[in-house]
């Protein structure tokens, strides 16, 4: 999923169950791509894989609606109780250090990999 105008891309690797986000992602509620990405996350969750990885290492910007979407995805993984979740993040991108740490409080067993 690419949006050159909004300068972001999202890639889903179904073998490793990894969803990779990169670029600058700023959703609005009426954005059709927001619905598409929500649907992708829902589909991955419904497959009930043993492990899901969110790779955010190259995600330079995410607005509060995006933070909310990712946080709710982690809550749903936590509630399933059967999925191991990994979040790959970057210390080089300041919003990640500020906002992603909240995911650990949502799901204490969440595995973080920082680069």
């Amino acid at each position: 999923m690419n949006n050159k105008l909004a300068k972001y891309s999202i890639h889903y690797d179904s073998e490793s169950e990894t969803i990779s986000f990169s670029g600058k992602l700023r959703f609005t509620q009426t954005d059709p791509e927001f619905a598409e990405i929500s649907e992708l996350l829902k589909t991955v969750l419904e497959k009930d894989p043993p492990q899901i990885t969110l790779n955010l290492e190259e995600l330079e910007f995410l607005n509060s609606l995006g933070i909310s979407m990712i946080s709710k995805f982690i809550i749903k993984i936590r509630n399933k109780k059967s999925i191991h979740a990994i979040v790959k993040a970057s210390h080089e991108i300041s919003w990640q250090g500020k906002s992603l740490v909240n995911l650990q409080r949502i799901m204490p067993s969440l595995e973080f990999t920082w680069v």
Partner: protein, 189 residues
């Protein structure tokens, strides 16, 4: 009539070692800019800080990046809220960036109708009287199946960015609605 809530500085210093830039958008222009161009308020704030003599040493590139990214996030959240909740048929949206004493102050102003004003003031009281961190997680858990609602913008600004936030409501001279301003103060040192 003016109502101030939270940390709102009504009269910002404007004479010495300070700088202000004001952006005034029509609703259509703000919406277009928000949706199609990533407005880099952060780069502007960094130039403003440097223009009043704030220096970032070579080894402080990380700090400069952090301030730039924080201002970008906060200003875009405020602009997004003004577009979402403002009465755009009657008034423009205003975003002001002010720098002084190693601080960046970002202010958004838009017109709100009576219902939105009441809802907003109730929400502000909730923020002021609650543990924001608890409110942040409660908001997520309670709206777990509602992806259309975030409600996290102001909470992330306070909880994640450790910024001071204040609000001002004042009568509008349009004979309709109230001018609603949100002020966010971010340390730049």
């Amino acid at each position: 009539m003016t109502l101030i809530l939270g940390d709102f500085i009504e009269y910002l210093p404007s004479k010495r070692d300070s700088a202000t830039i004001n952006f005034t958008f029509s609703y259509n222009s703000a919406n277009h800019q928000y949706l199609n161009n990533h407005l880099s308020f952060g780069i502007i704030a960094i130039h403003m800080l440097k223009s009043i003599g704030i220096q970032f040493s070579n080894n402080a590139t990380g700090k400069e990046n952090e301030i730039r990214n924080s201002v970008d996030y906060i200003a875009n959240e405020l602009l997004g809220n003004s577009i979402k909740y403002g009465e755009h048929s009657f008034h423009e949206i205003n975003i002001e960036i002010h720098v002084f004493e190693c601080r960046v102050v970002i202010i958004s102003t838009n017109l709100v109708n009576e219902l939105r004003e009441k809802l907003f003031q109730t929400y502000i009281q909730k923020i002021i009287t609650s543990d924001v961190s608890e409110l942040y997680f409660k908001q997520l858990e309670e709206n777990i199946d509602n992806n259309q609602k975030s409600g996290l913008g102001l909470l992330t600004i306070i909880n994640d960015y450790k910024a001071k936030v204040g609000w001002k409501f004042e009568s509008s001279d349009h004979g309709y609605g109230t001018l609603s301003s949100v002020m966010v103060q971010l340390p730049a040192s």
